[in-house]
Symmetry: C2
Subunit: 395 residues, 2 copies
């Protein structure tokens, strides 16, 4: 009798090919790239036999600033052409981190065809790689228990919309009967509900900190902070449009934020009181955090401002949310939040804004924890801030 088998078994005897997935439109190369060497230097390879000049641009390099290519805050370095048009470049040993890069081929930016991990910032994709041994490990999936990450929609009466958020529930949540504290984690103005999950590595950071015993199990809620969009680009009924900077009605996100908190308290087993809630955010989300926590002084016991987008404005008021901040801060600190945390990089263009807030708090005698790092308004800092902030929560 004939036996009946997977044809995939036959496929395993063939050279690598992907016809069993999809009839392959585009060729796979056997080249590897973004190879992390033993000394933590990293080698990039790119096949371009007809190119005259191939460069690499990344957030890990010194070198010529690529202003001609419109690039800022990043090195632009020539790669070396080798046999058969294989261009290569090896970095010096790098500190453990999550890095991003692209190639420039005769002036045209292109992602690495041999390393398909990318991050979207607005409309631009860049490649990613991780150097292990330190922060890079914290930002990577490790062999530890993993929480569940859900894309969840909620209805906003205030904004009259169905809106998308990401919710991380820690390992064991589903089988447990207990209630969990919640960290609300807010993105910057260039981001959306996917930003902390993808480039921010929030789920990996929290998984790993819990596994190391440094953070307590917590729910992490990552909503979309733009009232001008209901979901991340490509995840809403706007379809596959070119992402752009949306305009948000001032104060509308903050003013409707308790809808999100109420939704989470209804839908998840939460510690639904001040001591069970933290809120933190980066850049615009740091501003959101400042205003939400001040406007709802009974709701959040832990507050984290990461390179916060805050500042003084001298012309007309735009939302009651931003009014009477001296009185709101006074009320907030009278209720003694357990932690008010601020972090910023010394080169951050918002440094002076955060300094103004610190001066204001110092003058009023409000206690806060201040963390200053090197560098600018960059994700490297925000991941570090989360990794330092999360262990201070709910203890």
């Amino acid at each position: 009798m004939k036996k009946f088998f997977f044809t995939v078994i036959l496929a395993l005897t063939l050279p690598f090919c992907s016809v069993f997935g999809q009839q392959n439109l585009f060729p796979s190369q056997t080249i590897k790239s973004a190879i992390v060497n033993e000394d933590n230097s990293v080698t990039f390879n790119f096949l371009a036999p007809k190119a005259h000049r191939v460069q690499i641009v990344g957030d890990f390099m010194e070198g010529e600033k690529g202003t001609n290519a419109g690039m800022v805050a990043s090195g632009l370095v020539d790669m070396t052409e080798g046999e058969g048009g294989l261009w290569t470049y090896t970095t010096k040993p790098l500190a453990s981190e999550l890095y991003s890069y692209m190639f420039m081929v005769d002036g045209i930016a292109t992602i690495d065809p041999n390393h398909p991990y990318v991050f979207r910032d607005f409309a631009t994709l860049t490649n990613l790689f991780t150097v292990p041994g330190g922060y890079g490990d914290l930002y990577s999936v490790q062999d530890v228990p993993h929480g569940t990450v859900s894309a969840r929609w909620y209805h906003s009466d205030g904004l009259k919309a169905e809106r998308r958020m990401n919710v991380y529930t820690p390992y064991g949540y589903e089988q447990s009967k207990k209630k969990y504290p919640v960290l609300y984690l807010l993105h910057g103005s260039g981001g959306d509900e996917d930003e902390w999950k993808n480039f921010g590595r929030a789920c990996q950071i929290i998984d790993n900190l819990i596994a190391q015993g440094k953070a307590v199990p917590m729910i992490v809620v990552m909503p979309n902070g733009h009232v001008g969009m209901n979901a991340a680009p490509g995840e809403s009924d706007w379809g596959y449009y070119k992402p752009y900077h949306v305009k948000d009605a001032p104060g509308a996100f903050e003013g409707n934020f308790m809808e999100i908190v109420n939704f989470i308290d209804r839908e998840y087993r939460t510690i639904a009181k001040k001591e069970g809630r933290a809120i933190a955010g980066l850049s615009m989300g740091g501003g959101h955090t400042c205003y939400i926590s001040a406007n709802y002084p009974d709701k959040f016991d832990y507050v984290g401002l990461f390179s916060a987008g805050i500042g003084y404005r001298r012309n007309e008021n735009m939302s009651p949310i931003y009014e009477n901040m001296d009185a709101k801060f006074a009320a907030q600190f009278k209720k003694a939040p357990k932690l008010y945390w601020m972090g910023i990089g010394t080169d951050d263009f918002l440094y002076k804004n955060v300094k103004e807030l610190r001066d204001r708090f110092d003058a009023a005698g409000y206690p806060y924890v201040y963390r200053e790092t090197s560098g600018g308004h960059i994700w490297k800092n925000w991941r570090i801030y989360l990794s330092e902030f999360a262990p201070m929560l709910f203890k």
Copy 2:
């Protein structure tokens, strides 16, 4: 008194920039691309002033087969250089679909820098766009109630591993007390647990079919069918490696499949019996579906083989899962599954394998539904099959 405001409000008065998200490494261009015109033609734009030849390759075109570039099953067409090095190409009006494409710049494949939606097939990223009005709408996020999509880890005793799956729960699941039927949806050998969710558009298809009243609310479980990997590339502790075709121990996925079913029945409110379970898969996953449903004839009342990777093998047996299939099919059909569904394209390289299975079923008098489409072993067909299969379930 000074007023305290978001600096983001100031940013809105500036030209588009992304400094508020991340200090931007890579420039955004103001060019739009993959523009769907009123007549459903699509215009692509690519700025490359120094290029000698720019081509577009996509799954929507006729034209020269790009064998020189190693490309198959796809047209390769020259774009036209216009003012300032802006290369353009406009298709003829296209049928509503989800399409993929790339550019070739002097022989180097690159994704579209002005359209950041991509799909990963093995190690290759290609751009995506949708032409609305038909299937394209079904595959898009619409303004309808949305289910929740969770990345969830489960423990496999049989495989001695923590493994990742995606679980779709329909809108209303969380607030409902009722039990739901479950569709287990399996990927091909080129894929992983993310494949149906991303390129397969399964969550959008089910959301939309439920909203149209064509499908009943159901849970959809998308596990990883490779026992050689625990999670999709980039989602496991393998890190950001170059994806490759993993080798799977024959029969190990099918033989341990009931662990997944038991996990889902324990963790979700399911109709935990045969009439509440469907299983379907594409290519390798169609083979998985065939063998799982035949080896566990009491467990699944609905079976869908999409371009199934099945076939006869004449040498040594490799797993008891594949033995005695005549007897197993006899037992399965004696228990009269409510639906046994097979679909395949006339150009599919597995057409003859499915024909053999049909002949076998015909000879034995086993009832099944057969759907033949044009085209080959391609995602276009699998999305169509899901959109036709899902409405037949649990009624």
